[in-house]
Subunit: 198 residues, 2 copies
DNA sequence: GTCTATACTGTGATAGAC
DNA sequence: GTCTATCACAGTATAGAC
């Protein structure tokens, strides 16, 4: 359908190869940890030599960068979908948001470390890869507004509580639910505080 | 005074060299980040070649291990001291504990990453280095008991809230006080929840 | 444009001389 | 204990085959 069908096919092929590389990197990261990803193994998994990766990514960190963008884009998509079916009750809505973030985070340690911790020495996400993260924050602010929370400090506190529970869960009880069980209570506590005047 | 003065002097000298190595590693970690520590630079800082470090530490991770033990020993010492002069008021005591932990954490990012995050790929603290961390938890439990908090879930929630604030501060507003300012309110919120029946 | 072969630098780690 | 020399492996640069 395009005026330049050849270009499109090339671009598609190129994008497909980039995806292959990133998917291979995710596989290693999930299996052996984020720091265990090596260009040689990524290349071997898709039948290449490591220098060939440089035809598609300018550095190893550029691969991490694509993974970072991937992860936040995935979360943004899920959160956008979830925002459509939030409970009407403000407290139930808060809990739904927190539980969704918690379960998403805990489902993939490597992904969480890449998204929310500075786990790779020297890696700083690019502006482009950071965009879906910023967009996710914007979505959170809009959603919180519909719940009746507009004060930025209130949102900051919500983020700290939710993130703190996730961190404790992953660091001290990986695979368990010791902190997951505290989530409803934590949200109740938070809601009591935010709406303590009314 | 010893029966084997020579042995003592050797042991002292050996321990002094170990300290030199660890201090050099801390200096690099604070300046360029935890992951930027290299054996060659550590060795150069104390006038050695890198292979010589292996006479004192069996691996690079063993140096990280000593640093990990260092950091928690330092915090345990401060916390033990601080526990002696806690306010009588339970809420004020809680806030003092949380503020002390927060300020200690924020004062040194590299130290915090080593103590509380899995920032070094493949590094797992040894049992010995972990001991002061366990001891710190025991101290926290004892202190919380004097405040009137005995339920383990209550303590877990306290840890999550405090740690969450620290993480947000370091990740999103390093050097600022955006989450530090929320700490008194967060502790108030927590106390309201813990003592909501009374 | 895509991939390979080769090679350079820096890393943690080891072997053996002194 | 500390050195020199060296290793295996990492990320990466370059030149050239197709």
């Amino acid at each position: 359908m395009s005026a330049l069908p050849n270009r499109d096919r090339q671009a598609e092929r190129r994008e497909a190869t980039r995806r292959e590389i990133v998917e291979a990197a995710w596989e290693i990261a999930r299996r052996d940890g984020l720091g265990a990803v090596t260009l040689r193994e990524v290349a071997a998994m898709i039948g290449m030599r490591s220098p060939s990766l440089y035809s598609h990514f300018e550095s190893k960190n550029a691969i991490y960068d694509a993974m970072f963008g991937d992860a936040w884009t995935g979360y943004l998509a899920e959160a956008t979908e979830a925002a459509k079916t939030l409970p009407d009750d403000p407290r139930a809505a808060l809990e739904a948001i927190a539980e969704h973030f918690f379960d998403f985070s805990v489902a993939d340690l490597a992904r969480y470390q890449l998204m929310n911790q500075r786990s790779i020495p020297g890696f700083v996400p690019s502006e482009g890869a950071y965009a879906p993260s910023v967009e996710t924050m914007a979505l959170l602010h809009r959603t919180m507004r519909t719940i009746g929370i507009t004060d930025e400090a209130d949102i900051d506190l919500f983020l700290a509580i939710t993130g703190g529970l996730v961190d404790c869960q992953l660091a001290n009880d990986h695979g368990g639910d010791r902190w997951r069980r505290l989530l409803p209570r934590a949200i109740e506590m938070y809601a009591d505080n935010v709406w303590r005047q009314s």
